[in-house]
Amino acid sequence: MGQTITQKILAAHAGQDTARVGDIVMCKVDLAMANDVTAFPAVDAFRKMGAPAVWDRSKVALVASHFAPAKDIASAGLMTRMREFAAEQDIEHFFDVGRGGIEHILLPEEALTLPGDVVIGADSHSCTYGALGCFSTGVGSTDIAAVWATGEIWLRVPESMKIVYSGRPGPWIVGKDLILTVIGQIGDDGASYMAMEHTGDTLDHLSIDSRLTLTNMAIEAGAKSGIIPPDDRTLEYVGQRQTAVSRYRDFDVYLSDEDADYARVVDIDVSAIEPMVARPSLPSRAVPVSEVPRVKVDQVFIGSCTNARIEDLRIAAHVLGDERVADGVRLMVIPATQRVWQQANNEGLLDKFAQAGASVSTPTCGACLGAHMGVLGPGEVCVSTSNRNYVGRMGDATAQVYLANPAVAMAAAVAGELVHPEEVRAEAPFREEVVLIG
């Protein structure tokens, strides 16, 4: 019996030839990440574990993202503690306000997550990095403290679910629509404890930005990880990022064997997919936009680790054209990282959004988790490009959140209600290779 890419990566990091599904293995970790919300309980746990220093200061990343820039005095305190820990431990990859952004978009940009790696993050969306062909998963603060102390983590070798996408995506279709289709089909725990392996000829048509959205939402299906076997596009992207940031490290490319075992195979005909909308209050309540009533919206949020990359902002700007944000609608645009912000600024996108009446902010997770920069009030309706529409996620428990791609989100901002982006802009967005500066 052959092995999946996930089994191979875990076996290699456990010092074994093979890794049997269901076995518990101790894996060496290539990168351990924490953010401002998860780092401080991790620091407390780390102290109690009694290790004098982190196992490898070059393999720890700390990112100010969730409440950053500090939203209040208490969150300023969290970031102070993270900053002090980073200094004390001489952490090599500490990204403060103005130096980073949302971790799941930042770390691939920084060439810190590479194919074949085992990446462990104290944030549930740490599954995102798998788009580059690494094993990556989210854990809590005590687990990340244990990694800091020992350099290892215990993992149960997961079953894999193979998702086979076939066909060319329509003009308005991006990674978000594919993953919402899958979650709508298999449910919020449809891939519980599994590795979701994304495959198929459609991937040839998906940018790295879109692929990162596919793996980002593995957790919304209950999965342990999301992964895309590396191809030429992956290697080109990784090489480009390594050169751009002058950070080089050897990596291994793993692919699944032809006769690898899958717990389930899901076939998705992408040519038939419409832009998808997940209705309140579960990601699995996803349906084509044409099946959703023309709900009047109070706020639109274009941001988060799911959809705030340069491709997303370009698509949003295309839909906006020379229109203005509808009266009575607040549009929040939050580029994911400092680098995406600069690129969008250089391309004139941020000015275009601002001219149209949008609020454009510095990178932060903020609005996605109802922390700051766009918290929803009672009964408000929001269309969001983020990944969760749970009760109370973005603010008041009675607020209603619809998840969608950036084109649908911008169309809602212009029309004032949920519509197909074609109603706002007849021409489909031009697909260009996503290249980031610096």
Binding site: I24, V37, T38, F40, P41, D44, A45, K48, M49, G50, A51, H66, F67, D72, A74, S75, G77, L78, A122, D123, S124, S126, G138, V139, G140, S141, T142, D143, A145, A146, A149, T150, W154, R156, D188, D189, S192, Y193, I219, G222, K224, L282, L369, G370, A371, R388, Y390, V391, G392, R393, A397
Partner: protein, 162 residues
């Protein structure tokens, strides 16, 4: 042993403890807001020893360890569910919140029933009806962490710290 609080499927960590309270990791402060967007009276009604009983995918969503800490701080002695989301499962084991995977018990318990959970013995008892249920066993490796008293003492032993 304690009274059962009954909830459905997909109880996510955003409703167990909303992000607006994540500026602290103090268990009493977190406990005051446990489950407030799902059940606003939970935090005032829960008594030490009470048990949360829920459907599938309990604790889905965010990796915030504040979620098991909030429930533990509220005095919850155990969570019995049909299944747990994997990060919550790890966080509960690591922080010492007792959890039990036992679909039959979930179907056989009503709100307010007196319930006792024996994690080591793998049993859930409904004292009100007299029914007893066998929980799914936890992996041996996971039981080692439970028996060590959580992840912190487990790592101390591994590191050889006294």
């Amino acid at each position: 042993m304690g009274k059962a609080f009954l909830y459905g499927d997909n109880v996510d960590t955003d409703v167990i403890i909303p992000a607006r309270y994540l500026t602290t990791s103090d268990e009493k402060e977190l406990a005051a807001h446990a489950l407030e967007d799902l059940d606003p009276t939970f935090a005032t009604e829960v008594q030490p020893g009470d048990v949360v009983v829920a459907g599938s995918n309990f604790g889905c969503g965010s990796s915030r360890e504040h979620a098991p800490i909030a429930l533990k701080g509220a005095g919850v002695s155990a969570v019995v569910a049909k299944s747990f989301a994997r990060i919550f499962f790890r966080n509960a084991i690591n922080t010492g919140l007792s959890i039990s995977v036992c679909p039959a018990a979930v179907d056989g318990i009503q709100a307010g029933h007196e319930v006792e959970v024996d994690v080591a013995g793998g049993r859930v008892e409904n004292k009100t009806t007299g029914q007893s249920f066998v929980a799914e066993p936890l992996p041996e490796f996971v039981m080692d962490i439970v028996n060590a008293g959580g992840m912190i003492p487990y790592v101390r032993t591994k590191l050889g710290v006294a």
